[in-house]
Symmetry: C2
Amino acid sequence: MADPYFLACDWGTTNLRAWVVGGDGEVLASRDFELGVSRLGPGEAEARFANEVRPALNARSLPAILCGMIGSNLGWRQVDYLPCPAGLEDLREALATVADGVRIVPGLRGEGVAGAPDVMRGEETQVFGWLRQDEARSRGRHLLCHPGTHAKWILIEDGRIVRFVTAMTGELFAVLRKHSVLRSDASADDEASFDAGLAAAEDGGALAARLFTARSRVTAGGAAAESTPSYLSGLLVGAEVASVPKLLGVDLAQPIVLLGDENLCRWYARALSRLGASSATYDGEAAALAALTALQMEGALT
Amino acid sequence: MADPYFLACDWGTTNLRAWVVGGDGEVLASRDFELGVSRLGPGEAEARFANEVRPALNARSLPAILCGMIGSNLGWRQVDYLPCPAGLEDLREALATVADGVRIVPGLRGEGVAGAPDVMRGEETQVFGWLRQDEARSRGRHLLCHPGTHAKWILIEDGRIVRFVTAMTGELFAVLRKHSVLRSDASADDEASFDAGLAAAEDGGALAARLFTARSRVTAGGAAAESTPSYLSGLLVGAEVASVPKLLGVDLAQPIVLLGDENLCRWYARALSRLGASSATYDGEAAALAALTALQMEGALT
C-alpha cells in the first residue's frame, strides 16, 4: 500500500468526514466523526483535530486540508469569503493556513436576493470537485442544486460559480415538523403524500397559506395525520424548485445537477420531474474529496 | 345597575375573554382568563367553566354563549363547521347546546387553496360582529384580514362570508424566531428593519430563499443581529399581504378591513400602505361581543 500523503476533511455543521489519501490520489482510509462545528466549544477545534481526528486515522503528522463550516466563526477560525465569480484556482490561491500543515478552503460570497449578500462554506468545494470529475463539465453552463438544511442553487459558467441563492427549505421542514401545529413523529417517506404536497405548492407563491393546507387537509379534509411530514416535505421542496431557480434568471430546460445526500436528492429529482425537468444525482462527499485532492496535490507541485 | 342577562365568551387557543351582559346589551363586567383550550386537559372544559369562570364573574346561573376554539376537539366538544357562504343567521340556526344553558357558535369551513378545505373558529363571530356594528357594512363587498398565529383573509359579500384563506404567518414567525438559525430574543418593534423586510419580500414568492436573507444580511452584510426579529416580521407579513389576497381573486384596490389585535394590525397596516393599499383597524374583541350579543338577545326573542 502506498504511503499516506495527506489528510482531507469535509468538516460541516453536524459531521466531519475525513480521508487519508496516498501519493497517487487513492483513498487509504476514511472515517466519519460526530464532530461538526455545532458540537465544538469555542476555540477547541485545533485540539480536538489533533487529539481525536489525527490519532484515529494514524495521521498525526500529515498535511491536512479542510473545507466547510470549520472556516466560520464557529469553527477553527473565520476565513474570509471569496467573491463570485470564482473557480478552483481562486480557492487555491486563497487557502488559509491556520496551523502548521493545516489549510482551510475559503467559502464564497455572492449577490443574493433582495439586495442581501449570499454565502456558502463547503458546497463550493463539492461543486469544484464535481467539475473536476469530468473534464467536459468545465465548459458551458450548469444549474446545480445542493439540497440540505440551507439548500443552494448554483449557476456555473465555464468552470466558475457565477451566482447562487440559498433556500432555508430543510430548516423550515425541521422546525415546522418539530415545533409547529404541523408537528409529527411520523416518517416523511410516503411518495403519494409527497406528491400531494408538490401539487399543492403550485408556483411556490403564498407559502404561508399553502402551509396551512398541511393542517386543514387533516382536520377538515380527512387526510391521515401520519401523512403530514411527507406532505410538508413535498410542499416545501415543490415550492423551492418552482420558484428559487427563477431568482437566478434561469429556467429548468437543461438537466439539473443534484449534488449531495443521495436520499435527499431523490426527493428533489421527483419534484423536478413533476415540473418536466430532468436531473442527475452525484455524491457530494466524493466530489469534496476530488476537489480537496486537486487542491492539495496540484498545490504541492507549483 | 341592570340585572345580568347572559354571559358571552370568546374562548380561543390561548385566552378566554368573558363579558357579563345586561338586558339592554350593556357590559356589566368583563374579565380575561388564562384558560385557552391549549391549556385545558381532555374533558375538563365544562368543569373549569363552572368552577372558575362562572364564580369569578358571579354568573353561576346565567345562560352562556361561547365562540372560538372551545368548539374544537381540544375544547368542550367538537361542533360541526358550517359551510360557506354563511351569515350570522346561519350561525344562529346552528348554535350547539353543549350543556344546560350553554351554547357554542359553530366555525366555518370553506374552499381553501390547492384543493384543500380551509377552516376558522372564532374569527367568523368577530367578522359578523363587525358587520353588525354598522348597518352599512352589510351591503357590498369587503376584504377583511384577521392577523394572528393563523391569519385569515376573508371575502365578505352582502353580509356573508363567501370565501377565506388562512396563512400561517404568525406561527412561522414564532417557530423561526425561537428554534431556527434566525433565533433571537431581541424585540420586533424596529420600524426601519421591518420596512427592510417588507422590501425584501417583494411579491412574496420564493419565501425559503428570502428567509435566508435574514441570516446573510447579518453574517455577511453587516446588519445588526438585534434587527433580525423585526426584519423577519416584515419579510413574513410583507410576503403575506403581497400574495395571499390574490388567492381569493381580489386585489387591494378597496380599503382593507383589519380586525383583531391593535398592535398586530398596526404592522399589517404598515405593510399594506407600502403596497399602496389603505386600511382601517377595528377591535376584534368588541366585534366578538357585538355578534354574541346579537346571537343571544335576538335569539331569545324568536
